[in-house]
Symmetry: D2
Subunit: 474 residues, 4 copies
């Protein structure tokens, strides 16, 4: 058996290429949208991909399983468990295999068995994988968003993202049952390869370790005591507490992954735009995504552009702040950044990338270009002390709760536009996050909304704290 984890650090998402070394047949589990990466890997290894597997209907990225199955002329394996109305649609044109609990299939020597493990989503499957060349018992279980290393998949996304009220608790209860009935009884040596790692918004405390084992998770995970005590409600309560903010793009992902998405046909590459076309796109109200460094953006930027200065986080950051509308996407950055940017956008279904410019000089009139100051903590502290400015903290709720600047306003960087009434227009604003990246993204939204006196304090809360200035917790 050949087994390779392919990991997207930005989405903290794992897909798996698994093959029978004898027959050369391979499948991919939970592929992202830009499926060329699996095809290239398979070609280099000498394998032929014959199928794509889904563990569940994903919320955090757009699945490439349908297109992969179609592209290779292979099978599409998805959950056939439909306890609720939430189920896959539009699969008639595919060579689809709907798997129910206990169903299986083989790939040469390698055998897959579906285990219904609802909770994160009602239809969720895990896959037991047996390497028949080596043993008759499973070597691993691919748990998707069921059991993570050190955590569990959150059951509240259907409610918080897809608006199905009441499903969070219901999912929590299902998860309890799945753990008790389908997981803790597995042999302890079975490896656990989950769908996410640390940083994913599909859980709250995921470990930065790619794999675990049934025994280790059973013995050492926080939920073990509830199973032992058969305390379902205690379990659900702890599970649902303190889940991170649900990114706004999750709703769209769930819908598209359920109903079907456009096929890419290939990895698109944005065209290098001419000024006339760039101007026309601005008139059409294109979204402008500026990928340059935060300092360069602050010094000079196109009005209305949003600053995504950490390319690796583009999926999450764009997913939080950009709506799914018909407006074209235009990038600003170096030519050598475009491939990665494209991958990260199509992975969340933002496909309408029409082009890019490398320089803003020449693309717009110099007189149009905007700028704002970057301030150090001393300067910010002085403004804060003298009430010369309001501090706006754009970090996550959990970061805010651990400590923040007294008197600061807190609005998550992804919720700026929905909370403008909380952010005063008639005062100077000093915006911060932890490193200046999310602050710049927040500032660029504020400026697009007409806010004028906004500065970034990139040293962030840590810098403030290290300087010995007053802080508070909540």
């Amino acid at each position: 058996m050949f087994f390779k984890r392919i990991y997207d650090e930005g989405l903290a998402q794992a897909s798996y290429l698994i093959a029978c070394a004898s027959t050369g047949e391979a499948v991919v589990v939970d592929p992202t949208r830009d499926i060329d990466i699996y095809l290239d890997e398979a070609r280099e290894q000498g394998f032929e991909i014959v199928g794509a597997l889904e563990t569940h209907i994903h919320a955090d990225f757009l699945s490439g399983a349908r297109e992969l199955a179609k592209s290779v002329g292979g099978k599409l394996y998805v959950s056939g468990e439909t306890v609720s109305g939430w189920k896959y649609k539009g699969l008639d044109d595919f060579d689809t295999v709907h798997l129910k609990d206990g169903d299986g299939f083989a790939l040469g020597n390698v055998r897959f068995e579906a285990v219904h493990t609802p909770g994160h989503t009602p239809e969720h499957l895990s896959y037991l994988v047996t390497d028949g060349a080596q043993a008759d018992e499973p070597m691993m279980v691919l748990t998707g968003d069921f059991v993570f290393v050190g955590d569990l998949g959150r059951p509240d996304l259907l409610e918080t993202a897809a608006g199905q009220s009441g499903t969070a608790k219901k999912g929590g209860k299902q998860l309890f049952g799945a753990l008790r009935d389908k997981f803790v009884g597995l042999s302890h040596e079975v490896l656990v390869w989950p769908g996410h790692g640390a940083g994913s918004a599909c859980g709250k405390a995921l470990g930065s370790i790619p794999a675990s084992s049934v025994g280790y998770e059973t013995k050492h995970n926080w939920w073990k005591k509830y199973i032992d005590d058969n305390d379902q409600s205690g379990f659900v309560e702890e599970l649902l507490a303190d889940q991170p903010e649900t990114p706004s793009y999750f709703r769209k992902m769930k819908e598209l992954n359920r109903d079907g998405m456009t096929f890419l046909g290939g990895l698109p590459t944005p065209a290098k735009l001419l000024p006339d076309k760039f101007r026309a796109l601005r008139r059409e109200d294109a979204h402008l995504l500026d990928l340059r460094d935060k300092e360069a953006f602050a010094a000079k930027h196109v009005p209305g552009a949003l600053n995504f200065s950490k390319l690796e986080e583009l999926s999450t950051h764009a997913g939080w702040v950009l709506p799914y509308d018909d407006r074209p996407l235009v990038l600003i950055g170096r030519a050598d950044q475009m491939e990665e940017a494209t991958r990260r956008l199509v992975r969340i279904g933002m496909d309408n990338i029409v082009g890019y410019v490398t320089h803003i000089e020449g693309a717009v009139d110099d007189s149009e270009l905007g700028c704002y100051p970057i301030v150090d903590v001393e300067h910010a502290h002085k403004m804060w002390e003298s009430d010369d400015a309001t501090v706006l903290d754009v970090r996550a709720q959990s970061e805010w709760e651990e400590g923040h600047i007294p008197g600061a306003i807190h609005v998550h960087y992804g919720k700026i536009r929905d909370n403008l009434d909380e952010i005063p227009r008639d005062q100077k604003l000093v915006v911060h996050c932890a490193s200046g990246i999310r602050a710049n993204l927040a500032i660029s939204q504020l400026r697009a909304e007409g806010y004028e006196h906004v500065a970034n304090m990139p040293a962030g809360f840590d810098g403030w704290k290290k300087a010995g200035y007053r802080t508070e917790e909540s």
Copy 2:
């Protein structure tokens, strides 16, 4: 004055970026289609392009003048000389200035004066350029395809490319008049910056020197004696003799440059295709352009693909062998070759580039892949000697006439498909050019037409000659 020649080695074509250093205003003369190169250059130099100039309706590349003028919101300067029916169309939507002989305009200190110099084309203009900051007399004349370094623009393209019979001689006479009346009288120190260099099919003996002077060309060019003797017919006879083959794409270029072309909006970049899409495109009869080395192509290639192994010559080679039809263009090659390939294709109006694959393994079944031998001169000579194979020479007429292999068939690599009846199907073929590149392009056409036993002899005619084998001239 700022003056920069921007040269395409493949098309042997020169465009010029000229600016007034005081005002920062710039124009481009005879821009190619991918006008981002001028905009980038102007931005780096700190200039603003305010206009685009055409010397004439080009036959060998698609002009970027219209899109450049539109893109910068500037003027489009073209010939208003319409002695024949052959004139620009579709310019109403542009801020067009039709220039007639003697008309001029200024760009800060820099003055341009149009000189009607028909011959290569009836409407052809040259431009006298005066750097007012330095002198009141012209420093240079931009001669387009009128006077080259060491040669003259050929007057027969309207006839050979655009099918206007009788225009070759007429053009020759006009050229005689233009030289006599508009050129030899210019001050000898005036520099001549022409539109082409060595290798262009717009003339027969162009020098590999970027510039000359009126005095030098007048004194030392082959045509001087005819002017001195006022021998128009002798001039026309020598001028028309031995002009190179007219590439088949010239007709299309002339039409589009006259009537108007699609605007790019930006430099397109082909998508990295998925196998399914690649297969679909093959079913749609896409043109497959394989950019790999000739050895790699011979060893393994997709049936029907044509091998363009010299990227620099892609414009000319594709222009010779690909029709302008609706079939999509698909490239095979490394990702880092795609930008250059795209530029070279759009420069001749082949815009329908839908994507590329980096590897043919995985893109088609191994069993489908074709191959053919590469042979050395000894082997080829043995086959030739024993009548075991027919030699096919695919070089230009002029190369053939200087020397070739006795008994060889001669068909220009760009005319293979129109002359299949001259090329036997029932014999082994040994194909050669000078270096194996054009031979591979010819072979790939033959194989696409079902020829089976075809080998490449990359050592070429020179290798044969050096080996001491028999040759003949014609």
Copy 3:
């Protein structure tokens, strides 16, 4: 805890970056020589590397542990188990911690405990890793070359590589003891992260799976029955049988890893050589490593150059065929291949890379360039049938034994120069491996030794078999 496996596909070697997420302290286990990859990764993750760990004295790559420890001003953790004379030298200048069985240390919440697991080497340590933030019991054991997924580290390298006779059996017995006393008793849920994957020459049947668990390996590995039966000699016999050829560079690696190696200071980059320098280097008898495709090499190559057409395998291929001498290394290939080539060479201690040329034209006289034919199986079969050529099979012993061409000579591609007397000079040779890559490497050695009539049959044994020609096993 943060845990990341960093894998070299060419060497099939895994190193591990492990950090405490709270304190940000990190260590690297079994780093390769080009330690910038760990430093870059740590910087991106926000960690500070404070130490380097070795599981044992490696035979297949040059360790970067010493330089990493020195470079970060951190500790160097190595085995202090010295049951034989084979032990680390030259560590006085380092902040060295010699670990013995049961010794441990902590990295914030993360605890490491050394377990002496001799066999592959006498001093070999495994590391039990406990994530104190999660549990008080170990989550994983880093087994180095002790237990692989599906296999065990071979105990014969000290004998076959380092010439210490009698150590193979002794090592086998130690391995038996280590499995019995140190491994099978571990909790079954403990994950096993070994030092190698499939393709490594440090074992014979390694799985293509990054991790396993103690329970899985204990239950399903081939050696379980011997432990159950306490059959040490049966174990040793099966263990030692059919181990793959020991690459010739292993001896050097073991010595340098034991005694100390030069520090790189940084990743060197070869200079782009001028022709004069290239000629001078040829006169100095530099090793010429040609990285071009096999077809391009066959068509034209510098005499004496060896063809390494699969960059990913450069460590192993160069390790087999190049001696460790004072001759400089000169590369031939594209500029964009040089970084990877350099990494792969320094990983096995071939540091003397003085430069590269991108083209052989201009670097040597055309008349000097060599070439040889590439033949298809039909052609090869015809030559074989008519005794017109001898077939030389350069694959590994195991491949040969599974099936080969009757009458073929078998010499491993890495042992060509030691077995020239088995390879006839007076006959045509058709050389093959599986895909033509190793065959080209063999041919380039033969040509460097003066063999003239050598052809490559890249379709390989599989191509021959698929064509239905006669084969035999042994």
Copy 4:
């Protein structure tokens, strides 16, 4: 004849590749140090370089002529005119041809004739080039630093750069003679291809046009009237007036170009340094050249590092501010900038480039990193108005004279360290140039000297002027 100008925009320096198309022999005139560019070009064109020509002993870049001649085994053509003690040394080991006025040689059909044209330097030669395939009279004259387009080579460098007092006037007189006796008498149609374009410090008003003609320069250059009036002293006076500052590295260039320089053997590439090595180099007092954007540098930089934020100008900027000492050079920037940086440094003989780091995080402790503010003109004006800061203008003398901020101190960015006593340490400084690039280079020098309160006003003098603030001329 083949003729190609190869131009370095940073040094504004032209070299020329000239070949006989029939024989394929080529020479290079005034090559820069990184001679691979000529060798690559020649290979692509199918030519063989057989010699290198020097017009004179250069002051502004290190010549590659010696190494090129040696590398190709060709001839080295230099001036044999030795009117003063200033002459080439160390040429015995070369196949040197010392050319005197009137001497010539041929390259197939192409003939070169040396013309002694002293002034810029005493030994200076120009070359008349005749394309024998076309004519018996010269087509062009390569004037080196004798006649530029619109200007003349300055005669004062031996005095200002090499310290030979009295030579400026003497050179001016020689130049007068050379113009009168060797230039104005040439046929007017002869093209002039000089050694420099606009921006070079080898003259004061060079045009941005690559070529001119004898007739045009004779008629329209500023010096014509002095020749007509035979007014040598008036000529010398105007010639010497207002020459730009002589870059400090010129002295070294002249010495090395006269006496001989180290050979590169190839284009070196800096190694990617490990932190330990980087720290060791800092302890050895390495020069740190930070190539990042000015905003990024201001936000965070390694103490002591100098900011060269315009890569294209690296030769000139480094030549002004870095001494020629034994201290190693270490770069900070992206990997893809290193090739260009290396070229620009070796072109002025700064070869001791030992390596680079891509990030300063990890390379030094965060606590060590420095920063300073970037201010807009409003802010700067406020500080200036309230005497809260001193303005430091680091532009060239000519820019200063055209207009500056009242009360500003003026010190050229290249003379900061020699004029620290003019720059107050006890006040806030607002530093500006035209765009912030030279200001950052000045600030980084000041900070390296311990200045603390320094800000950059990147909008520069133009921004100040546009804002309507008070200015003055001098």
